[in-house]
Symmetry: C2
Subunit: 207 residues, 2 copies
Amino acid sequence: MQVAIPLYPRFTALDAVGPYTVLAFAPGWTVTFVAEQAGPVTDDRGSLNLAATASYAELDRPDVIVVPGGTGTLDVMGDEALVGWIRQAHEHTRWTTSVCTGSLLLGAAGLLDGLTATTHWALLDLLRQVGAEPVSERVVTQGKIVTAAGVSAGIDMALSLLAQAADVETAQAVQLAIEYDPHPPFQAGTPRTAPEGTPERALKLIT
Amino acid sequence: MQVAIPLYPRFTALDAVGPYTVLAFAPGWTVTFVAEQAGPVTDDRGSLNLAATASYAELDRPDVIVVPGGTGTLDVMGDEALVGWIRQAHEHTRWTTSVCTGSLLLGAAGLLDGLTATTHWALLDLLRQVGAEPVSERVVTQGKIVTAAGVSAGIDMALSLLAQAADVETAQAVQLAIEYDPHPPFQAGTPRTAPEGTPERALKLIT
């Protein structure tokens, strides 16, 4: 199975590397970072440079795409090299997926019209602007389109995807290989569970 | 706060990028990937190239170090450029931390003698060879040394570290910023909870 993860300026590193790690551990799966041109792409913290090793043109028919989000997402909503690649790749994919605000790029490509979808909690309402019905869930599956909530949700999404695209035993083996038995130290992972004042502090970190 | 994450051939991407993402979202924290020489370093899946932007010599007194693991760890146990840097950096750090088999490198640097520590479940016994007492816990704190279990445990470790090194409110804000409300699709994250046969399948993926 050939997976492509497009990178663009100011993507969020974990959005891309969470699903990458899950899927790249699966036997027979290869994961390639792509961009308009091969070369390093800088994340939204400004201090991580991850290399795209193929251009969009070189990898135009992947089986799976995983579109990451990031503080740079809104700036590339009109980038036809990226959005056009998503639109065309989707015609042939088995699975078209996103993490965090990556779903807004699926929407910009016209793929979410009339579908339910999710994204980072802070930007959930923006999904309406691309024709989708926002839902506050960790992972949302609509046919072959799968959208995940913010950043770390890509790990859960990729494990679910692997269970469907390969089999449950493979997904469980990868989960154990990456020792994914999470113990968050706080109940602060959603706006509903986080202590008062936390959403305001979190928003300052991501805007 | 200046954080350094050393990279070496065949590190596991999520070991490095999980803590990176947590700590790089914290206000006033900068995270730098380092290596013997600046430049791209390839992970243990062979398809991710992450750039070290500074050499060990250029960043010899970070406040925090996070040493990732990977299938390449055992090959660099005798790499004095890396292990010597860990040993010397530790003299001045506020926190010296590891993810997964990164703890074996802390041990190779002589930092774990007589301490309890953890690592990936599959290699827990190897900690004895570097003088440590292995414990099967998600995160183990011994003074300023913090070791985390396999791969994904680095996210939990970094959030705990942030709560201690900054404050609980900052850690909670970062947890919410990265929407870390994990919902693993299976109970397969530890050898104790995984279905029969899963550890054997997982071992094939990481060896």
